[in-house]
Symmetry: T
Subunit: 67 residues, 12 copies
């Protein structure tokens, strides 16, 4: 038997979408043990003064539950 939990997070980066994903995984790894992966659910950019100020990703993060 194996049970995993899926939690939804939103993370952002000033650099790129890939960096936003990496930031979110790094943050999730601080509190959740055994992170297995993440599904990118949504991608947005925040614009300020005509420039992309933030790359935002919404992710479903999966991590294994210890018994």
């Amino acid at each position: 038997m194996s049970v995993a939990r899926v939690t939804e997070i939103t993370s952002s980066s000033t650099v790129s979408f890939d960096d936003a994903v990496a930031q979110g995984i790094a943050r999730a790894d601080k509190t959740l043990r055994h992170v297995e992966g993440a599904w990118i659910q949504d991608q947005k950019v925040v614009v300020r003064d005509g420039q992309i100020a933030e790359y935002r990703v919404n992710m479903k993060v999966t991590f294994v539950l210890a018994d």
Copy 2:
């Protein structure tokens, strides 16, 4: 860098859909810090004896994660 979590709740009211949203936000605010907002995902009514007995909303609540 900024990371937020999204959690799903269902709340209900005997008064109206707007009140059900307010009840859910009030309850979320007791345990989750830094609630930023919520997206209304579903709206239902429970009927008893031909009358609306409950207004129920399912919401995705976003709150900022403290580092």
Copy 3:
């Protein structure tokens, strides 16, 4: 064993979305027995001369089937 039927209705009100839901439930209760609840599937407004003339809701109404 318990079997329920789900029927789709559209109802409208000149007052509010909540009133449109109440009108639809009241009407469904006249013909269908044992209405248990309804899921709000869609919300629209009809506009005439720049004013909201009707609030319309499309609902899935659930009612228990008598054996």
Copy 4:
């Protein structure tokens, strides 16, 4: 022959979802002629200090194109 255009807007209110819809319709009516109606696509609340600060609706507004 009849052709209508559909445009997407987001409007907000500090009072209620119904008021946010009304605000959006009022604003659309200032620039678009012959608004026929709107479909409520999304509903969100913005929360500040544990209180609902804004009710936001995303709507698809339909208006008739003059030939």
Copy 5:
């Protein structure tokens, strides 16, 4: 007033989809109090050497929040 939380889990079984659901509910019941039900969101099989090695279900589990 009543508020419930919805959490997403993935559980698996070597026997059947129904057993995977039962395993997930049993595990959720160890940490979450007042589990009310679950909605089966996705069903998958893992295949090894041409045989079904695992039945996996992704579920949204609802449980009541104590005040």
Copy 6:
């Protein structure tokens, strides 16, 4: 020419999802003639005291309309 109707029902069983489907078909067959089939739209479990108390399926049942 051939015209069929599609009706939505929800049925439940204490045994399994397959049994819930069979119960729903059996009930539909009592009132609707010429049932051709059903599409399983949703599957849920109701939990009481940490145990699965009911398997519920929501189905779209198709039956041929006699002229």
Copy 7:
């Protein structure tokens, strides 16, 4: 106040999709009064011996409920 019902039907034609829609509306009009319109939900073709044998449409038919 105005309440309408929405019912789902599937109709077919050996000629074209437009004819399948017309057949379905004609059949619905025999039993349901005050048919207002229909939304085409799905279109399929049935193939026999490499030829299109049937055009099938699945429609949501709306009709006004008399009080």
Copy 8:
């Protein structure tokens, strides 16, 4: 670099769905330059006195933006 805009229109015809699409494209071509194509998003019929009175299509029309 190439940027195109996508705009949503609804057009209708008393003849057929294909004609409704053609009417919509003809109308769009009067105001928008460089129309490239359209995606048919929805198809409806309006019924009056048991007859199909209008074929309506909702389309996403793409046109190239001149720099």
Copy 9:
């Protein structure tokens, strides 16, 4: 036991959507045996010089697998 495969194709016609479907079925029938039917997943038009130049359909074609 019976197993069928579903394959996705896109076909086009300068005449109509129905002709595009027929063209796609005819082409599929040249390589795939036992085509049973097809579900129309998407309909698009390609526009050149303000005229509809192509009717395009995206279809899911089902064919029986010989053992």
Copy 10:
């Protein structure tokens, strides 16, 4: 680097949904090497004379591509 293909099949059984999945996997394994798993996309029952005659599943089967 690793590339997998996803193919869609429909399989049926007279016994149960789980058996229909097993039948489909067994058949896919005869022609496709390295089947890794399958996602259950749809579940239907075919009814004859008021009895469930077939359990049908539509699955997306994933298999690794040999270089």
Copy 11:
């Protein structure tokens, strides 16, 4: 009160998806004032001679309406 409009654009780049997003935002900023952000709705690549020739993104761009 605050009202924003949402417009849909498609932009492309020969370099990367992130560049396609940046190109689209830059172009939108030339005509629309007060661009607030964009949601990435779709990502495609165009292939020529076995090479990726274009990265295309479809975006929903939000901008504030001046009163």
Copy 12:
């Protein structure tokens, strides 16, 4: 007349999402002639020891069928 086929693949890279897309296109080009493009359907990351170990994309690849 022109007919294209759409096939679904999943490819991965240890570098980035863009590289995963390029890997998938390169692999598809080895067996399928006349690849025209691909639509990115899903993006996932696989995490090992708190680090992103793989970027995975699921794509729908379109290629022209030679007569």
